[in-house]
Each structure stands twice: as C-alpha cells, then as structure tokens.
Symmetry: C2
DNA sequence: TAGATTGTTAATCGATTAACAATC
DNA sequence: TAGATTGTTAATCGATTAACAATC
C-alpha cells in the first residue's frame, strides 16, 4: 500500500549493490565471498554489510564468508528478482525510450513487454524491440496479460490519469518517474524515483567540499 | 569529498519536493503557505516539514505560514539552485539523450552546455539543441569553459576512465548514473544515482502488500 | 594452531515524532 | 478573542556502529 512504511528500507536499497559486487566476483576463483570484501569495494562498514545480508536469510561461514551462489540466490529471492517479471511502460518520451533500452533490467528480472503512448506516430512502432501500443487500449491489454508492474514516464499533467487507468486494470506496483505525488488505492505500491533529490545532495556536497577546501587548501 | 557524510541528508533530499509544491502554489492567491499544507500534499508530518525547512534559514509566521517567495528563495539558495550552473554530459546513449532533453533541470538551475561521446556518428551533431563533442577534446573544453559539474552516462566499462579525465580537468561534482563505484580524489563530490535500489524497494513493497491482502482481503 | 570472519547482543548515533509555549 | 501555526525542547524510534564470543 502506498503509505505503508517499509522497515529496513536503507538496507533493502543497498542489497542491489551487494548483488552487483558478488556477480562481478562470480567468475573469479573461490566458492566464498566475505562481507569484508564487499564492504571494502563499496566503502561501507563490514558490520553493515553483514547486518544487511542477514535480512535475506543467508548464513555465512566464519573465516570464509558467504557462499557466492547461495548469496546471489538469497538476495534475488528476497527481492523477487529470481523469476522474470513482466512490466509495461507508459509514456514513450525521452526517458521512457531510455528505460526501454536499459539493459541492466535483465539482471533484475524485469521485462518490459509493451509500452503505451497516445502519439499516433509512435503507436504501432517498436522501440528497442518493444511494441508501442495505443494508450486507449491499455486497460484491456493489461487485464489480458496480467502484468502487475507499470513504469510511469508520462508528462506530469497526464500522470494521475494514467495511474487511475493502471490501478483500475489491476496493476499492483507503479514505478513513478514523474514528479507527481500519485493518489492510488492502498493496495497499490508506488515507488517514486526523484532525480532532483539526488541533484540536491550533489550540490550540497560540492558546497561542503569548497568550504573544506578554503579551510585546508 | 567523496566519503564525507552529509548530515541531514534525508532532509536535503526532501527539499526539492517542498520547492515543487510551493512553486505550484505560487500563482494561487495568498502571500503565505503553511508547512501543514505542504505536509498534507506530500503525505508527510507537519513537524517534519517545519524541521526540514528550518535548515534553509527561513522563518515563518505563526498562524500564517511561510512567505512563498522568501521560502522559494531560501530553498533555492540553500541548494545553490538560484544561479544557473553549467554542466557537461558524458556518454550520449539512451539515458544521456533523455537527460539532455529533461526540461525539469531548468528549475534546478542546471544547464547542460555540451555533451561528449566517442562515436564519430554522434560527434558534431546536436541533441536537444546541445552540441555533441569529441570525448578526446573533453579535458581541454572543460578547462576552457570552467564547468564544475559532469553528468556521467557512459557504459560501465568506460566510467572510471571518464571520471579520471573529468577530475583531472577540474570537475568538482560528478552525477554518476553508472553502476560503478568511482574512485576519485577527496575534493570531488560524487552522487550515485541508482535505479536498482528504487526497484528493489518497489518489489518488496509489492510483496508486503500481497501478504497484507491475503490476510485481510 | 592462529587469525580472519561470522552473527549476536549492546551501545551509540541521528532522524523522526511529540509536546507545548509563543504568537499573529 | 480563539484557533491555527510556528519553532524549540524533549522523547522516541530506528539505523548504524561497536564489542566480542563462536568457529572454520
């Protein structure tokens, strides 16, 4: 539901980065990978990595670390990334097009099977191999396919209307790339992706560094 | 510097959403806007909004709220968004192209003045009105223009090399859209933008909702 | 064996929330 | 005036970090 607070959200947010590190070490020799090593690669504290990994249910071996394959399976299983999940994308603009071509989604078990737009010039075409369909048929298509995830990349003004259609069609999760605070039923999860918050942090970090530089440089 | 911990990071992350709400209420009548109203629109606690706004230095008036224009100026000033800041973008792929056309950056005082790529077919063209230049000339161009911010949207394999060139050229902040943990000098700020962490949270939220649904629905 | 690493329990730290006097 | 709202001070909550016994 939209307003449930997910506990351990910071830990969950870090899990994909751990998964990424383990995958990179997959080919390299050794059956095990230690939390210490993962921590070092990500500039984190080892204890934090161990605590985070614990929520996936994995258990390691003292002195050795975590069995790589089991660790990958544990993280993927916890996140639901082990079985491929279909998604639709709404709004084939610049960002939508970019996300449709984003190869990394494969590693998250996320498959965009269709996109929707209202522009007649786009409808009927394919973008990165994904068919672009008429947004007017969205409700029918989603019901038929049973897709549960929608990626929302429409202009702000259309965001709430699109969300209404999506929820009515039975979508359970909306990955919201607009800057609109969506109003949805409680049983629908919304994850708002907000570029501006990251940029805010970057600018403040830069200011902080300049102050330090003046003082010490 | 890369590993400095910014205190009050969660508050800073929320500031752009407050700014967005105030801007939307700008035209509507009234000189003031209350923290209570902002909180309601964003599903936050009023006390949290007041605490967050306090770090910008703004002071409100009991019973009335915050003066809209002063509040906008305070947030923008705190974030450094009041004066336009130039940036370059490195890597004109799908995501790079999308960001080059992202209109919302105007509201953050961010101006992408040039992009760099190594593809001869792209070099010399313009994307969304922004010139695409040869990445081999990047060092020179950045030094000459004095740009301090770089948006990094190259493939993972090229990320560290690009970051090296950027820092050598005097870049002070890198907005990193790759999944590579960059190694940079301490005086360079890096903000890593990570789509997968948001997706992880979405999936866990959906799972939680399903469990609740089974129990109550 | 010795030393590195895990997992648990406790301590610390910081963020969120509560309470409430001041006030327009 | 009465009531809504601010800003401060205190309390709570949750996340991070520390300490350390167990162990391969």
């Amino acid at each position: 539901m939209a307003h449930i607070k997910i506990s351990a959200a910071p830990s969950i947010r870090r899990l994909p980065s751990y998964l990424h590190v383990v995958r990179q070490h997959r080919m390299m020799g050794g059956e095990f990978i230690s939390g210490t090593l993962i921590a070092r690669e990500l500039n984190l504290e080892p204890i934090q990595v161990r605590k985070d990994l614990a929520i996936t249910g994995i258990t390691g071996k003292p002195k050795k670390g975590y069995p790589k394959e089991a660790l990958i399976a544990a993280i993927e299983g916890f996140l639901g990334w082990n079985s491929p999940e279909d998604a639709v994308l709404v709004g084939v603009g610049n960002l939508g097009t970019a996300l449709m071509g984003y190869q990394a989604f494969r590693y998250h078990g996320l498959r965009i099977i269709a996109a929707f737009d209202k522009n007649p010039h786009k409808i009927g075409s394919t973008v990165h191999g994904i068919p672009v369909l008429d947004v007017l048929t969205m409700d029918t298509q989603i019901r038929r396919s049973g897709v549960k995830i929608a990626i929302l990349t429409v202009p702000s003004v259309s965001a709430q209307e699109a969300a209404n259609t999506l929820t009515a069609a039975g979508i359970e999760g909306i990955w919201n790339f607009t800057n609109v605070k969506l109003k949805v039923p409680d049983q629908v999860a919304v994850q708002k992706e907000d570029l501006s918050s990251g940029y805010a942090l970057l600018r403040v970090s830069m200011q902080t560094n300049r102050l330090i530089g003046e003082k010490w440089g």
